[in-house]
Amino acid sequence: MNTIITIAVIYLIGVFAIGIWAMRRTKTSEDFFIAGKSLGIFVAAMAVFATALSGFLFIGGPGLTYSVGMGALWFTFPTSISFAMAWYILGKRMRLLTDATGAMTVADAVYYRFKSRAASGLTGVATLVGIVVFLGTQVLALGTIIAYIFPAISVTQGVIIGMTIVALYSAAGGILAGTYTSVFQGSIMAVGSFLVFILTLTTGDGLTNITQTIATQPFTDMGTAMPEFVGPWGLVGPMVAMSWFFALSIGIVGQPHVVSRLYMIKDVNKLKWGPAVAAVPAILGGLLFFGVGLVMRYLVMTGEIAPLANPDDAILVFLTEFTPPVLAGIVLAGVAAAIMSTCDAFINIASAAAVRDLPRAFGKKLSDKKQLVYGRIAVVTISVITVVTVLQMGDDGIALLGAVGWGTFAAALAPVLGLGLNWKRATKEGAIASIIVGLVSSVGFEILATIGVYELPNGIYIGALSMVLSLIAFIAVSFATKQEQLDEVMETVMDA
């Protein structure tokens, strides 16, 4: 454990050093919110990768694979193409839009596209709601990892310590600090994932041996042999698995913490290899996702370990029991890194929504200096609110929030951004309808299911359904309402 603690401490010192360096370079709100449009291909792509893949990849992913088999992988398989989707659909147009208008947030893009304070304000609200529901799960996971690395610390203390670290470097260096720590963190995640995957193959005597054993032997904790566990849908079935793939892939277009990075790229030409660079480490993360999940199931079936009481312990048990301490330390730092990089991006975007998007919805605009000062205050405020929320709601409440995180962003924001910037016939009424339908259906169905009033049939994934409903609303209302003339700048951006 000493080795793991040493590596974790070195890692945290590295994060602080980057925060201090970034603070010295952050002088304007453009620096604070969009890194002064200074990012090269590698930095931008690694930041996108690290931001997009949260702690779920490392903790929830292996646990889900252990529970439901290969079907869990439809959560991570979108990564080979989803970054390209964001680039094809939004990359060039969002990057040109910030050159043409100075847009810094997703709500900015919606405002310049539709010339509607209501649509832009609703986007800001959807962004804040999505972030609140998503950030809580990340912070709780961060507290859990810190408590695991430092046994003397409780999860509650871990939540407070973790959030304090993220808030300090985010308030000091804004998105610039978040971005460069993400590059550092992303590199750790990618290397650690690959090494752990190799180790899982060694532990299970090769992939074929692992899958063949699972496919042919009775499950010790389920009583019967289940070849479908290593089939493409696992135990979840094709409809649910395909829904995950749909919502997690094209849904990236609505993730503000991912697409706002497109503003930060130095120039449009730097978009070129971005998705390819981001996809490689994401694919390596996918190897860990299924490698650990499958090998833990294999080890249970061969009697080498007892069935896991909590599937989410799969990665922690594997690291503790079957991994050299140095590698375990690197991977645990990678897990914390994955969570922290997502947290800092969320906090920065929430801060931008608070000091830019919402004031504009009420017809106000803060000066650049005030945006920078209030942005830093917002980072601290949002961090405190998040910690209080997490500690108040507990595990069950946070699990509920986490379930609607990605889906809320996808449903509320993907159509308005992804179609809005590519389809001139789209109207502000369509945009407003789409955001409302996306938000209400995503959060509403989840609440109805949780309180036992109504559950969707056929195991329908709420995120997928909500995005479909939001898309239909956007297109139908746009066709039903009068098209407005675009201004020359927007016309140029959309034709490019």
Binding site: I81, Q212, N422
Partner: protein, 136 residues
């Protein structure tokens, strides 16, 4: 062309809705890849048309998705597998090596490869930047 692609997206979305509530697996396997393809195609359109490289790339991805998802659904995954390819039963090998990895080459790598031809040329970018500079 953009309007047509949006109509394809709308149609595919309606079919997905029917598939979800009717539990029609094959309808879902056919409609959601079409929706994702049409949306990417819409993003790749420039003033109503698309470059040949991006067009070929996106159509290839669509073929992989449609072929992959329909094939996997047709296979009996509850039977004990007798053949393993690359460490996985056949249907799972299709999932991993075709549906997961192949689109990286066909769609993600192709985005960079055809970028200067089909996304934006350096000259076009310079013209746009000058225009934006003048207007601001």
């Amino acid at each position: 062309m953009n309007d047509q692609m949006v109509k394809v997206i709308l149609l595919a979305a309606v079919l997905m809705l029917v598939a979800l509530f009717g539990d029609f697996v094959y309808l879902f396997a056919l409609s959601f890849p079409v929706l994702m393809f049409a949306w990417m195609f819409l993003g790749a359109l420039r003033n109503g048309s698309i470059g040949s490289g991006y067009k070929a790339s996106l159509i290839s991805v669509l073929v992989v998705w449609l072929g992959g998802f329909v094939t996997m659904n047709l296979m009996d995954t509850a039977a004990e597998p007798s053949v393993y390819i690359g460490g996985f039963p056949v249907a799972t090998a299709i999932m991993v090596y075709v549906v997961w990895i192949l689109p990286f080459i066909l769609g993600t790598y192709a985005y960079g490869y055809f970028f200067e031809k089909d996304c934006i040329t350096k000259e076009e970018l310079k013209t746009l930047e000058n225009k934006f500079r003048k207007e601001s």
